[in-house]
């Protein structure tokens, strides 16, 4: 368990440090396009993905860096991708919203709200056909919970009795639109019953709560018990995309009180394991990793004209 806790902390800290650094770097204007930051939601990806292994596949969202890191995608290659470099996860062709690494079971961040859930039905179906005991996990935002592709996927997962888990990350807003308004039921989890699966709600700042609920759902899925909808709730830190009007940012106070890392530290301090200095060491290691990731990304070559027309097809 201590190993798991260390790993949990390391992942959450890595995501946080990655996102805070991307936030700073984006402000310099060197990162092209848009970035959507996962900072604050670390406990969700981490609590879920710690249960996963090579047999399993996840699909992320447009706010996908955290999902990637939690599923083991290389942090340096991710940073290079965000900078549009040839050394990036996608050789600079995808960018922040399309980081994927199939070899790690990461089927991609996704620029389409609701893009992931159907795909994950497929990953779960493949696991079932191949009898690997693997599962598929689709992360989605509260806003994407109103997209027909998501709702259909919930029903299909049940009809096919798939080892699929849908993690609805309700951070209160889709861009500036509140989930209290856009989700007509009180909770996204209320939709689960209409699609014949269990629905649970957990506190997204509490790694332990997420970890436990995910463990139960994933365990059930592996044993042939079918899909689950987990609603993970939190308050958004930053604006929708970085550098926007910061609507939905519920003030600095939220940052203080609603922080999975602080809560995690407080909780493990009670138990005594992992020791504080271990966590501090992780902080330092992560800081260095991110520092290296940024400097290597900046130094890395950009793609060239030769790369423009490759990788469209396997053969054509």
């Amino acid at each position: 368990m201590t190993d798991t806790l260390r790993e949990a902390y390391r992942l959450m800290r890595t995501i946080r440090a990655f996102e805070e650094r991307v936030h700073d770097e984006f402000a310099t204007g060197e990162i092209p396009g848009f970035v959507h930051l996962y900072a604050g939601e670390e406990a969700s990806a981490t609590g879920v993905c710690l249960h996963l292994d090579d047999r399993d596949t996840i699909a992320g969202t447009h706010r996908g860096h955290g999902h990637c890191i939690a599923k083991g995608v290389d942090v340096k290659a991710m940073m290079a991708e965000i900078y549009g470099r040839k050394t990036g996860t996608c050789h600079g062709k995808g960018g922040s919203m399309h980081i994927a690494d199939l070899s790690k079971g990461m089927l991609g961040a996704n620029g389409i709200a609701g893009g992931g859930p159907p795909l994950i039905c497929g990953a779960a179906l493949a696991a079932k056909q191949q009898d690997t005991g693997g599962v598929g996990v689709a992360f989605l935002g509260d806003g994407a919970g109103n997209q027909g592709t998501t709702l259909e996927a919930l029903n299909l997962a049940s009809a096919w009795h798939l080892p699929a888990i849908f993690v609805a990350e309700d951070n209160g807003y889709a861009e500036a639109t509140s989930s209290a308004w856009s989700v007509a039921s009180d909770n996204l989890a209320d939709r689960a019953a209409g699609f014949g699966m269990p629905g649970v709600i957990v506190d997204g700042f509490d790694f332990f709560a997420v970890h436990e609920a995910a463990g139960e759902a994933i365990g059930r899925a592996r044993e042939g018990g079918g899909p689950t909808l987990i609603e993970v709730r939190f308050t958004r830190y930053f604006g929708h995309f970085d550098a926007d009007q910061q609507t939905g940012r519920d003030g600095e106070a939220a940052h203080e009180n609603l922080d999975c890392l602080k809560r995690f530290r407080a909780r493990v301090a009670d138990g005594g394991e992992p020791a504080e200095h271990v966590l501090d060491d992780i902080d330092a290691e992560v800081a260095k990793l991110i520092e290296d990731a940024v400097s290597e990304a900046k130094a890395a070559p950009k793609p060239t004209r030769d790369d423009l027309e490759t990788d469209v097809y396997v053969s054509y």
């Binding site: 062709k93 690494d101 159907p118 039905c121 493949a126 056909q129 592709t149 996927a153 299909l156």
Partner: protein
Amino acid sequence: MRTISYREAINEALAQELERDESVIVMGQDHPWGGVLDVTAGLFSRFPGRVLDTPISESAFVGAAIGAATRGQRPVAELMFIDFMGVGFDQIFNQAAKFRYMFGGNVRTPVVIRTMYGAGLRAAAQHSQCLYPVFTHVPGLKVVVPSSPYEAKGLLIQAIRDDDPVIFCEHKALYDTRGEVPEDSYTIPFGQANVVRDGGDVTIVAIGRMVAMAEEAAKELAANGVEAAIIDPRTTSPLDTGTILESVGNTGRLVVVDEASPRCNLATDISALVAKEAFGSLRAPIEMVTPPHTPVPFSDVLEDLYIPDAQKVLNAAKAVVEYRR
């Protein structure tokens, strides 16, 4: 050689690939009962667990086929009518088509989406469209439009073995058409047109069911001493531009026959190709034979007027042959 129908050719291709490769799975509405026009008849019981029924949730099950393709399966999903693409298109064009490029080459998505297209069955505006030009427009997709039972079997087997996402467009009015088809498994490579007929006076490029219209017209032309070459591209993406350009190089005259709506369709695509690449050999305007810019009408009278037929192909061919500057 034995003669079977277009429907049977497709069914046989599916069966042979299901037999050959464990990773092939087949899914679509009503598949346990052979699907809406019996194309998948018998497969459900013959391949237990590998032929799946689906709810009317095109985004979800087409997306699932795509997701499964990235994870080691070779799914064949049926979008019952191509007209239903509107409720499942995102997964096809933003997901399957773009994965490989967006992910820097680090994925294969060997999915086949079988779908019925075309007019002629009085099925009206929402069940008679062609729409393959829309898929052809999208980089990352391959698009197949088989014109005969022989083509259907060989191209479908190729589609299933192909490592890229393939849209396989079956003309619903061809299902009962019969033709010679080898019993053994075989593939027809993508991007290789079939020269249905040789001829030095005019080149007719025709897509899918329109190949038959072109053949009828060509007979009539031959009776009048005009020899038409007929080219069936078989796949619209990739397109065998070489065969088309070579033929126009000989004939200097081109007619393109496309059942799809006339704006931004394959007729314009192939005309433009030739106007750019073979201008020097062109001796007449390029004629396009297409339906009018209208939805497909229900009434039999109107639908018959709507669909390009041999007479219209003949008229167009005559016009380009007789053209003098």
